[in-house]
Amino acid sequence: MHELSLTRDILRVALQHANGQTIRSIRLHVGTLTNIEISALRFCFDACAAGTLAEGATLHIDTIPARAQCLGCEQILSLPSFAALCPCEKKARLRILSGDELLIKEMETEPCA
């Protein structure tokens, strides 16, 4: 359950930036190559946010599809699963273009009264 430690990091960053304001939503970008279980992340988030200024906040998660470019034929592939090599006849390496991001993009807070 590495999602638990990731959630703690997400909350730490968010609460630090919230500067005492109540957090209403947090938006993440999670690439499909990061091996993160979205449902586990949500579960951990709700559990860890309880009792903090992020309690009840909505977690928006944009999953970023994995794409890679073949260094041989230069075609761009979407990666449904892991592969290091292109299926083309050159069997060349693939360079990951997207799908490995794990970002806290933004959050919304209630303004100070």
Binding site: R12, A14, Q16, D62, R67, D100, L103, E106, E108
Partner: protein, 341 residues
Amino acid sequence: MCVTCGCGNTNNTTLSNQNGQSIPLHTHTHEHPHTHTHEHPHSHEHPHSHEHPHSHEHSHTHEHPHSHEHSHTHEHPHSHEHSHTHEHSHTHEHSHERTHEHTHSHEHPNENTDEHPPKASKAAVTEVLDLHLLEQRVLDKNDRIAERNRGFFAGRGVFALNLMSSPGAGKTCLLERTLREIGAPCAVIEGDQATSLDAEAIRATGTPAIQVNTGKGCHLEAEMIWAALPQLPLQDKTLLFIENVGNLVCPSLFDLGEHKRIVLMSVTEGENKPLKYPHIFRSADLVLLTKIDLLPYLDYDLPRALDAIHTIQPDAAILQVSARSGDGMAAWYDWLRQQKA
């Protein structure tokens, strides 16, 4: 959990030092002073940018119009520099200063020049929320501490290896034999959820070892290594072996500051592990196929196993070893001796 910073000090990680004494690890020293003075403690310390060779191309056009879940409709396109220019500076100038008042309300086209006047939007909408652009990598903190570990290793001339596998693949047995035979200064950090059995087994070889118990945690994090380092005698040219918690999923995301990653796969686990757990194999510099003394008793398809590794990580070296019979160990020692920080 710490309500202010969200850190996990319920995380009951402990260290046992060389004498087996247990030391609670609240390394979470709350470096962030949480005076919240907007100046973003993180900014400068971020040397990581370059490690992201992948990034730049994905222009990341973000279909999320950012509207959906907000009950109030309208496609305020809100297209923020989400073009995401990715030199991966994703720089922390962000946040507070930018908290433009995203009135969440209707047709403010929001070219995102942050200071767009909070146009008295019609529609007596709801509420005004502050939007903070954060653009922070979730693993940023771990990666920064990993970088600090790397600096520490460089300063001491230590070469660090992160050993990962499923439980029981033979990490501890491999280390015990290696430490007896290699004839080079070594030190070990043992990660397990509980017990200091492995550290005791390592100490029995005469090598200094620190046990890190992660409690419920299923992987080691850079901070745990940082906390363990002062407990170990480390001299120039020490090989520091870090035995990660037995797990093929979680450890792969967490950089410990190691120089090389080694993934062990025993021949009793079947040939397909790399395909089933690609993430961890993708990051391996070396794959050790262990317990090869058992091959005569198994119908193990060796070429298929090698092919599976190659499919996921064509750049990994692969060595076949048995800590029991000693087969292949010489090649492993050679590989270790060739490594340079």
